[in-house]
Symmetry: C2
Subunit: 258 residues, 2 copies
């Protein structure tokens, strides 16, 4: 029975996809977990970031979410990768329409949860890459999840987004998904050269979120961006890079908490 | 009769807000233009980024967009700043709901355009900061605009987003707003240290978008991020910084094209 982890942040560009892909891959590669990486973002960047690994095939996530009669589970539309133990949901150009179509459906928040009922027994971990907003796709992600990882880069704009998301998670917990918890806030894209900026933001974040801030940090590391140009995960691109080491460290902490 | 410029990109974190705020402020400060900066992003980061300048007051953008009987124009809900010639629309916590509410309205794409009919005569330029998606708020922005500026950071994920947006603009031009054009793609957050990454992406972008790529670039500059911690625009924070100079250069080009 898989643990479901949403990687979510309202703020754009804080490293949700980079974190989802790197974490999912590290759990599969280094912890022998059977992992499913679900792309809930209409941008479809899971497929872009892993294009050298993702095998053709699979179906449409939008059909699972909006076609009641389809009876499809998420596992019916996944495709495999050449990374052992890692499956993904492929890019779906119609996923943006699902955002709109969901808003008038009865029980709209539970559609993804219900489409993972059987799928959960086929994996150890399911990671959900969420889009940069708090719309219906992210809401479905939160209602299907056991835990939420919130990437945040050292900026006042990203920090504001964390507060908004934590409020949403509290509302989700009280009305829709009592089991959900916040795994933590992960500081990403930390630029070692900007000491004064980092210190300002880090003390702000510590003040507001205290222990919820994870001890490991992901520094700015051009290998992470270069790996994406090639469509390879960071471990295939350069296993000795700082980005690979830091995301592997994150996977150690997550695997221990499963 | 104001020129309306949408600053849009589906990809998150590429510098839409930083560009909107810096450009709007530079046009007001250095070109004597009467400027209105409209925040179409439910995150409300225009107000966060300018919190030291924005005066209290103003109304709710969500009311303008979703309350037919209100008869409100955008100018009825703006507030001023202490930057001469610059007004903004204040943060509206209910703007996220407007995204959903708009999807079932007749003529949903033209609601903002119509709410700017009289407002346009009170300003020289109206800049629209769009959210990181192609939903109903961004669609309203595109349908109300004369021109679109597309920020793009040097990454394969951002590049993919530019293609998706250009396709949407083409569809908007053929069916909803024949006057719209692409002002250009603005390369942002360019890190001088990553020569090989930049060269790969820049040649990719030039190949696909040719002359649409603007000649000026915005380099990574910590002053831009530090200014946001203080809620000041880059010109009030450090007029001599590279970020200030590059955004001023952008404003020169935009003012010349008005
Ligand atoms: N630690 C890092 N070091 C260097 N570059 C990074 C790092 N993390 C992310 N990036 C780069 O920053 C950009 C934003 O990251 P990413 O796309 O993963 O964020 P996101 O939150 O998923 O964005 P969106 O909101 O658009 O979904 C990407 O170009 C990525 O390559
Ligand atoms: N040229 C730059 N140099 C350094 N930092 C920058 C630069 N441009 C933007 N930033 C920083 O990068 C982050 C993303 O920028 P910004 O929030 O303007 O992007 P956005 O596209 O509006 O994001 P969103 O998709 O969430 O609306 C911010 O923390 C901002 O301070
Ligand atoms: Mg992403
Ligand atoms: Mg923004």
């Amino acid at each position: 029975h898989a643990t479901i982890l949403a990687v979510a942040a309202q703020k754009g560009g804080v490293g949700k996809t980079t974190t989802s892909v790197s974490l999912a891959s590290a759990l599969a590669r280094y912890h022998g977990k059977r992992v499913l990486l679900v792309d809930l973002d209409p941008q479809g960047h899971v497929t872009t970031a892993l294009k050298a690994h993702v095998r053709p095939g699979g179906g449409l996530m939008s059909k699972v979410l909006t076609d009641d009669r389809s009876g499809l589970e998420v596992m019916d539309i996944v495709t495999s990768t050449d990374i052992e133990n890692l499956d993904v949901t492929p890019f779906d150009p119609r996923l943006a329409e699902a955002e709109d179509l969901l808003s008038t459906r009865i029980g709209k928040e539970f559609i993804l949860r219900d489409a993972l009922k059987v799928t959960r027994s086929h994996y150890d971990v399911i990671v959900l890459d969420c889009p940069p907003n708090q719309g219906n796709l992210t809401l479905n992600g939160l209602c299907a999840s056991d835990s939420v990882l919130i990437p945040c880069d050292p900026s006042p704009l990203a920090l504001k987004g964390v507060e908004a998301l934590v409020q949403t998670i509290t509302a989700v917990a009280s009305r829709l998904n009592p089991d959900i918890d916040v795994m933590g806030v992960l500081l990403t894209r930390v630029d070692g050269r900007n000491r004064s900026l980092n210190d300002t933001i880090e003390s702000d974040i510590a003040e507001r979120f205290g222990d919820a801030v994870l001890p490991m940090r992901i520094g700015i590391n051009s290998s992470l961006a270069k790996a994406q140009v090639e469509g390879r995960d960071i471990f295939a691109f350069d296993e000795s890079s700082r980005g690979a080491q830091q995301y592997r460290e994150l996977s150690d902490a997550v695997a221990a908490a499963l």
